[in-house]
């Protein structure tokens, strides 16, 4: 018993170190000056920690760029927010309504529709990239934020629909009958009965969709164009296409900045997230 506990904690510590080591290196490097980086090991703590690199990563280095923009991540952060907010609410909202319809209303061909959605979910996005480009181009929104939002919604809806449909399938039939007798139609049943029941699932879907969309690189690169460049794409440009000496501290700071929102969402919603995952197993 005692030895088991020691082994367990040992294992957990090893896992934690493995996962946290890169984060530690990133944070510590981002706080160092370039001189210190050049002369020291990456594992040493910063001698004179400063946030200069973080500022450079956020606001850009105006001495380096020739145009009016300084090339920091701040503007693409805003772009990412503009992409994530509508894409998140549209994909989760549509998924909730679609999942509810598929699960609750005896619609002809509901199972075929659901199978089609599942197929859509398991096809890697790279495969449908080109047809999607043509579709979005024909709609006249290629290379813009609305175009990118549309693609994210198309990709997200299959996943969110599956989550909500599977949850709503577990709602007892008697409850639906009671609502019908009370006179709740399609929307009242959804709004007053089903959606409040699905709050844990709603939370999980929001968190996962936020993470997917925020972390996405491929779709952002392909569909965003210049005006719809999300933070991940901007980060890649910042890290990959500088001339002169590589500013590791700025790169590390920029990477941390890009990862912070998803990290914050997980930390702030950790309890809700776990509850949502457990909600599938326990009947409310």
């Amino acid at each position: 018993m005692r030895y088991n506990k020691i082994a367990l904690y040992g294992l957990l510590c090893v896992a934690a170190v493995l996962i946290l080591a890169p984060v530690f290196i990133m944070v510590s490097t981002s706080l160092k000056s370039m001189d210190e980086i050049r002369n020291g090991s990456i594992f040493t703590l910063p001698v004179d920690p400063g946030f200069g690199a973080w500022g450079k990563a956020w606001f850009g280095d105006c001495a380096k760029t020739l145009g009016e923009k300084c090339g920091g991540l701040s503007s693409s952060f805003l772009t990412s927010v503009k992409i994530v907010i509508p894409a998140l609410f549209l994909s989760v909202g549509l998924g909730a309504v679609t999942g509810y319809t598929l699960a609750v209303w005896k619609m002809k061909g509901a199972n075929i529709m659901f199978a089609a959605l599942l197929v859509g979910m398991f096809i890697p996005p790279q495969v449908t990239l080109y047809p999607l480009i043509i579709m979005v181009r024909e709609l006249g929104i290629f290379g813009s934020i609305p175009g990118l939002v549309l693609v994210h919604v198309i990709w997200g809806v299959a996943f969110t629909t599956m989550m909500f449909r599977n949850f709503f399938k577990t709602v007892p039939q008697d409850l639906l009958k009671a609502a019908r007798i009370d006179g709740a139609g399609f929307w009242p049943l959804f709004w007053y009965v089903m959606l409040p029941l699905s709050l844990p699932i709603l939370g999980v879907a929001m968190i996962l969709q936020f993470t997917y969309i925020w972390n996405d690189f491929l779709l952002g690169l392909t569909f965003g164009g210049r005006s719809g460049q999300p933070m991940t794409v901007a980060l890649n440009n910042l890290v990959g296409s500088q001339f002169g000496e590589k500013e590791y501290n700025v790169n590390m700071a920029a990477t941390m900045l890009t990862a912070l929102p998803t990290l914050a969402v997980y930390l702030l919603s950790g309890r809700l997230f776990v509850r949502g995952i457990a909600a599938g197993a326990v009947k409310g």
Partner: protein, 357 residues
């Protein structure tokens, strides 16, 4: 006229007919119990009255109105479910008021009505709790409250007491009966529990395999079962059946089932027409009496229940149960002599199972 009428109601699932040509008239203020084993179609029938399942053919009339094509909320009915089916995310107050809200009733009126119902059912202190914070019996009351608040013409109950423990079930039974007497509304109540049927109903409809076997008062269903199915389904312990024939016995009639002649005093006069025919004798445990002038029987086992005891016997190879007072002592394997009360027994056609008297 707030009754219910079913005319030629038929239900089929993808070509398979599960219920054919059901005709039933439920008068205003009746407490009608649909009784039957699981799978007999009683819940399907209730769901069709509620409008939760469409009818394949025929029509349903509630309060004199043809509601066959109407949605459940347009039928002027309310339903209580076995699982209570309370909305888990809403407080008791909102649960009860939800149907009124869906009808667009002003909030102040809803609050008044919910308050009245809360007092009527003695759940006022619980109004702001969630269903998960209530006991089974309290949830049951809320479910009944949700039905009452809408003041419908007809109440539908789908095995409402099955999820309660025995004591609470007996209490709720009494309360339901009192509620029916006070409100005087029509109730259609589905159960497989014959005690509930006997105690609550003003009229019992026994269903089996999608057919109405008998529709009558509880007394008649018990005393004059229409066929062998009803006879064996209603009553516990179940009715004893013995195959044999009626024979002349002095002035009267006796039953001959191979155990000697069993005289049956009190058999109605028209039973004389059946003399010589093969019949199935149906005698409830209380119709068998221990009497020294009766026929021989062997005691298998005596089961005392407190107020009386059930004695299992074999008579000419047939196992029967007799009910008697707790005073008499029986030894397993001992001998006894039994008689049958001819005034109360039933006679069935051995082929069709129909009652012959």
């Amino acid at each position: 006229m707030n009754g219910v009428e079913l005319r030629g109601v038929t239900k089929a699932y993808s070509g398979l007919t599960v219920m054919e040509n059901i005709n039933l008239e439920i008068e205003d203020g009746a407490f009608l119990v649909l009784l039957g084993p699981s799978g007999c179609g009683k819940s399907t029938l209730l769901n069709m009255i509620a409008g939760l399942e469409p009818v394949t053919d025929g029509s349903i009339h509630i309060a004199g109105r043809d509601v066959t094509a109407l949605e459940p909320d347009e039928r002027d009915i309310a339903m209580v479910f076995q699982s209570y089916a309370l909305y888990p995310t809403m407080s008791v107050r909102r649960n009860i008021g939800f149907g009124l809200k869906m009808r667009g009733m002003p909030k102040a009126d809803i609050d008044n009505r919910v308050g009245e119902i809360g007092e009527l059912l003695q759940i006022s202190p619980l109004l702001d709790r969630k269903p998960s914070q209530l006991s089974g019996g309290q949830q049951q009351r809320v479910a009944i409250g949700r039905a009452l608040v809408r003041e419908p013409s007809v109440f539908l109950f789908d095995e409402p007491l099955s999820n309660l423990d025995a004591k609470l079930r007996a209490d709720m039974r009494v309360e339901l009966k009192r509620l029916h007497e006070r409100l005087g509304r029509t109730i259609v109540y589905v159960t497989h529990d014959q005690i509930e049927a006997m105690t609550l109903a003003t009229r019992v409809v026994v269903l089996d395999k999608g057919h109405i076997q008998q529709a009558d008062t509880p007394e008649n269903v018990y005393r004059r079962p229409a066929n062998r199915f009803v006879a064996s389904f209603v009553g516990a312990p179940t009715m004893n059946f013995m195959d044999g024939k009626l024979v002349q016995y002095g002035d009267g009639i006796a039953f001959d089932g191979g155990m000697g002649q069993l005289p049956m005093a009190g058999l109605p006069a028209k039973a004389r027409d059946l003399i010589g025919q093969s019949i199935t004798l149906g005698a409830r445990p209380e119709h068998l009496m221990f009497d020294d002038t009766g026929v021989n029987a062997r005691v298998l086992l005596a089961e005392p229940t407190g107020p009386d005891q059930y004695v299992r016997l074999t008579v000419a190879g047939t196992e029967v149960t007799a009910r008697t007072g707790p005073e008499q002592q029986f030894k397993s394997g001992g001998d006894a002599r039994i008689m049958v009360d001819g005034a109360r027994v039933s006679l069935f056609d051995p082929q069709s199972g129909r009652a012959m008297l």
